[in-house]
Each structure stands twice: as structure tokens, then as C-alpha cells.
């Protein structure tokens, strides 16, 4: 029983921490979707680029990985704007299906570009302020400080984007464009500029997320897919285009992903003979989608969504 209690505490804490990182990853996707109704299949590859940025520039500049976060954000923003002007702008004229294949192609392209330059070897940050240090938060609950700091920095980044969108003049123009682009143009708000800005904000936030993630999650060219899938579920769950929804849904999914060890502990503590060897935690991403489907049935617009 004691094992179970500790497991629950542990899962709750790591759920919250992972959830905040998931939320930051999903934030960029929801901002872009909200403004342009476009789903970016290459979102996880943006994350990968952010991860590599921190991995490579930290030794290059001789600074701690944490200090390269603004750079990862900048690279993400530039990448976002480049993708917008180089590809997305043209895709918008085509049918929905062209947009799907277009961003899917972008995903393959970025992934292979990474393979070409970085190789397939998984790599991680080995040295830094955050790496390999842990803090004791309770009896038997040890947290890697990397993850705690990543969660805190995620929250801060999230707050910055939230403030920008909800409290500044340009941010409100982004909101107006996502609500009614033509109506916003009648206010003198350039849709083109807002689109590019959404890609910049989206790219920056996912770039920062990547820079944080690589402190405790190895990067390789294919790392993006899992995070794209999680981000899609997060955005759909929170409501397409909703910033608040991304935060709540991100944390929710963090909990879901970290819940299975609790089940495993329950199974162990009741020593269910027939279930021995069944490891529920290997189904954790299946559970994410199970909850996602459930919410889609009950509330298709997501928890905080205004769009379908």
C-alpha cells in the first residue's frame, strides 16, 4: 500500500511537469491553427529543430544549454516565418487536402534534412546546470531538476505568449483575425501579417520547448512524430485555437501519460495472479487517444474551443 501511495504522488508530480512541457509544445500548434485553420504536421519537426539548436549551440557558444533557449526560440520563429512565406502561403490557395499533404511533405523534408546533417544517432545534453541533479520532494519521490526547471520555464514561456495574445494590441489583432479574418481586415489588420506573426509565435514557442526538452529527452531526426501526435491530441482536447485550452489539456495529458504506473502498482499490490506480467504503462499513449476520442464524442469543439 505504501508503494501505491508513493507511486500516486510520483505520477501526479511528473504528470504535472510533463504536462506543462506538452502544453508548451502544443501552444504553437494551437496559435497557428487558431489564426489560419491549418494543421501543421511538421510541428514536431519544429520541436526537433529547437532541440538540435540547443544541443549544438551550447558547446559552440560555450554557454549553458539553458542560456541558448532564446536562440532556440529565435530559430523556431525564423523557421516558422520561412515556412509561411515559402510554402504555407501558397497552400492556402489550394484545397484542404493540399494543406494536409503540404505540411506532411514539410515534415518529411525537415526530418530528412536532419538525417543528412545530424545522422540518426540519438543525442542529448550531457552537461549543464540542469543535468543530472535531483531534488527530494517527499519520501521516496526524487525529481530530476531538469524536469522541474523545464516545467517552470514552460509555464513562464506560456505566460509570455498568453500575455502577448491577450494583453497587447497586436495580440488582440491576432485574436480578431482568428475569429474573423475578413472582419479584421475591415479594421485595417493585415491577414498576411497576422498569419506570419502566428507562425513566428508558434515557431518560437515550440523552439523553446525543444530547447528545454533536449535536457532530458534525446533528440534524433524522428523525435517529432510522437510529439506531433501528443500536440494534436492536446489541441483537440483543449479546443482548436484556445491558448487556455492548450494549458489545461497539456496538463491533463501529462497526467494520463503518467497514470499507468499507478495501475501497475495497483496490480502489483493486489498481486493479481492472472494479470502478472501485464504492464499497463506500455499503453500510455493509447490511453491519451482513448481520452481524446471520448472528449471528441462528448464535446467536439474541445474543452475551451470556439471552433469545430
Amino acid at each position: 500500500m505504501e508503494e501505491l501511495g508513493i507511486q500516486i504522488l510520483k505520477s501526479a508530480v511528473s504528470g504535472l511537469i510533463m504536462g506543462l512541457v506538452f502544453a508548451l509544445v502544443a501552444l504553437g500548434l494551437t496559435v497557428i491553427f487558431g489564426v489560419m485553420d491549418i494543421v501543421n504536421f511538421a510541428h514536431g519537426e519544429f520541436l526537433m529543430v529547437g532541440m538540435y539548436t540547443t544541443l549544438l549551440t551550447s558547446p559552440l557558444l560555450g554557454v549553458d544549454p539553458v542560456l541558448t533557449l532564446p536562440l532556440a526560440g529565435l530559430v523556431g520563429a525564423v523557421l516558422g516565418v520561412m515556412c509561411y512565406f515559402g510554402l504555407i502561403r501558397f497552400l492556402l490557395r489550394g484545397p484542404m487536402i493540399a494543406q494536409l499533404f503540404g505540411t506532411f511533405g514539410l515534415m518529411i523534408f525537415l526530418r530528412n534534412l536532419a538525417l543528412l546533417f545530424m545522422g540518426s544517432e540519438p543525442r542529448i545534453v550531457h552537461e549543464g546546470w540542469l543535468v543530472g541533479k535531483s531534488i527530494l520532494v517527499g519520501p521516496g519521490v526524487v525529481l530530476e531538476s531538469t524536469k522541474v526547471a523545464a516545467a517552470a520555464l514552460s509555464l513562464i514561456s506560456f505566460a509570455v505568449v498568453w500575455w502577448f495574445i491577450n494583453r497587447t494590441r497586436v495580440g488582440k489583432a491576432i485574436t480578431a483575425t482568428s475569429l474573423d479574418a475578413e472582419g479584421a481586415r475591415y479594421m485595417g489588420i493585415s491577414t498576411e501579417y497576422m498569419n506570419a506573426l502566428a507562425w513566428a509565435v508558434g515557431g518560437a514557442s515550440v523552439g523553446v520547448a525543444g530547447g528545454l526538452l533536449v535536457n532530458f529527452w534525446p533528440v534524433e531526426p524522428g523525435v517529432g512524430l510522437l510529439f506531433t501526435m501528443i500536440a494534436f491530441a492536446t489541441v483537440a482536447l483543449g479546443g482548436f485555437g484556445s491558448v487556455r485550452g492548450a494549458l489545461v489539456a497539456g496538463i491533463l495529458i501529462g497526467f494520463i501519460v503518467n497514470l499507468p504506473p499507478v495501475w501497475d502498482a495497483i496490480l502489483r499490490s493486489i498481486d493479481a495472479a492472472g494479470l502478472r506480467g501485464l504492464e499497463i504503462h506500455s499503453f500510455k499513449y493509447t490511453m491519451v487517444y482513448a481520452v481524446y476520442f471520448l472528449i471528441m464524442v462528448l464535446r467536439p469543439q474541445g474543452l475551451f474551443g470556439w471552433k469545430q
Binding site: 488582440k172 485574436t175 480578431a176 475569429l179 472582419g183 479594421m187 485595417g188
Partner: protein
């Protein structure tokens, strides 16, 4: 001030407006009336650069604007209050109004305009924190007109502001136009199906039918003309 010269507009190849011309002089209220589907909204959208002008020209204060983008036209002081209002529903009244002043760089001017709008529509001031989408149709129309005024436009184009409103609200909308006329800062182009009221308010008016001008003249004369009385006033 505004001159539309022989414009043609096509929707997917089909012309809905052919060789249409209108003029609006400064400080004159001009009405455009016509039945549903006559092309009133199309005309205003063409002026705003929201639909493409296939032939002809549009000039505003001496500048040719038919090749400009909507947001550039807005910056010239030409404001369109769209049919159906197109407010940003989840945002508050004040946020909507401030978005109307998006092109206004001067903070003090913005505040002055906000006060002006609140003075014009005290009800908006009472509800400035309320989500605009949760207000009544009449209040929303005030918010839409107020938002249009937030950039101190030279020419304000109102597209069927009385559509779907309760009678009391309809007279309030037209009362607002009268106040704007009295203030004399903004020229108004008023598109209406509410022909009687619109013609009573206007100095000059055009009657639109299937994408063409069927009649034009001093509004009072049109009001008295047999054609208009028969077609629109059921007399």
C-alpha cells in the same frame, strides 16, 4: 470624395455588377437603396477591395484605390461597417472598439475617440466589459458603428445597419446617423433596404437593381417619384 467609375464585378466569372458609377461628396449623406440581391453589399466590398474590381476605377480623395488592399484603404480613412456587423463575439465591447482603432497610432486620439463613442452610445459604456456577442442585436449594431468610428473615418459606409432590429433600435440607428451629420466630421454612405428612412436621411441617393443604377437624384425627389414609391414603398 469617393468616386466609383464604371466598375464591373464578377463572382466566379458571372458579372453581378456592370459599369456602375456613383459619387459621394464630402459632408453629404448618400443613400444606396435596392432590393435584396441588388448588389449593394457587392458595391461596398468592391470599394473596400474585398472583392476584385474587374473593370473600372475607384477613387478616394484624389487617389486611385481599386488596386489597394483592404487594410491600406482603411488607413486612408474609408471605413466599412459590414452587413451582419461582424463583431468579434467573444471579445468585450471595449476590446472590439479598440480593434476599430487598430490603425490609430496616437494613444490620446484613441482615448478621445473612445470617449466620443461612449458619449454617442452610453449603453456601450455601461457594458464595456461584456462580451459583445452576448448583447442584443441593437446594442451590437451600436458597437459595430462605434467600432467604425474609432479611427475617425473620413467616410463611413454603413451596410444595412437597421437589418433585423426592433423598431425602437431602428430609429436609434438612424438617429445616430443624424448626429453624425450634425457633428459634420464624417461623411456617410448609407446602404439600406429600409428605403423610406434612408431616403429621408440622405441628400442624394441611388437606386440599385440587379447590379445597375436604375435611378439617382436628390433623395427627396426620389422619395416623391412614382417608380420608387411603387417599387419600395408599396404606394
Amino acid at each position: 470624395m469617393l468616386e466609383v467609375k464604371g466598375i464591373t464585378v464578377r463572382y466566379s466569372g458571372l458579372p453581378v455588377m456592370r459599369d456602375l458609377s456613383i459619387k459621394v461628396a464630402q459632408n453629404q449623406t448618400v443613400g444606396v437603396v435596392g432590393a435584396n440581391g441588388a448588389g449593394k453589399t457587392t458595391l461596398l466590398k468592391a470599394i473596400m477591395g474585398a472583392v476584385k474590381v474587374a473593370a473600372g476605377e475607384v477613387h478616394f480623395n484624389g487617389r486611385r484605390i481599386d488596386r489597394l488592399r483592404t487594410e491600406e484603404i482603411v488607413r486612408l480613412g474609408l471605413i466599412y461597417v459590414p452587413e451582419g456587423r461582424r463583431l468579434f463575439g467573444p471579445l468585450s465591447v471595449e476590446e472590439n472598439l479598440l480593434l476599430g482603432a487598430y490603425t490609430v497610432g496616437d494613444e490620446a486620439a484613441k482615448q478621445r475617440n473612445l470617449e466620443h463613442v461612449y458619449e454617442l452610445f452610453p449603453r456601450l459604456a455601461e457594458r464595456k466589459k461584456q462580451a459583445v456577442g452576448s448583447m442584443s442585436g441593437g446594442e451590437q449594431q451600436m458597437a459595430a458603428i462605434g467600432r467604425g468610428l474609432m479611427s475617425s473615418p473620413k467616410l463611413l459606409m454603413l451596410d444595412e445597419p437597421s437589418l433585423g432590429l426592433a423598431p425602437l433600435m431602428v430609429s436609434e440607428v438612424f438617429e445616430t446617423v443624424r448626429r453624425l451629420q450634425a457633428e459634420g466630421e464624417t461623411t456617410v454612405l448609407l446602404v439600406e433596404q429600409n428605403v423610406l428612412e434612408a431616403l429621408e436621411l440622405s441628400d442624394w441617393a441611388y437606386v440599385l437593381q440587379t447590379g445597375r443604377i436604375r435611378d439617382e437624384g436628390p433623395a427627396k425627389d426620389l422619395l416623391a417619384s412614382d417608380g420608387v414609391r411603387r417599387a419600395f414603398l408599396g404606394l
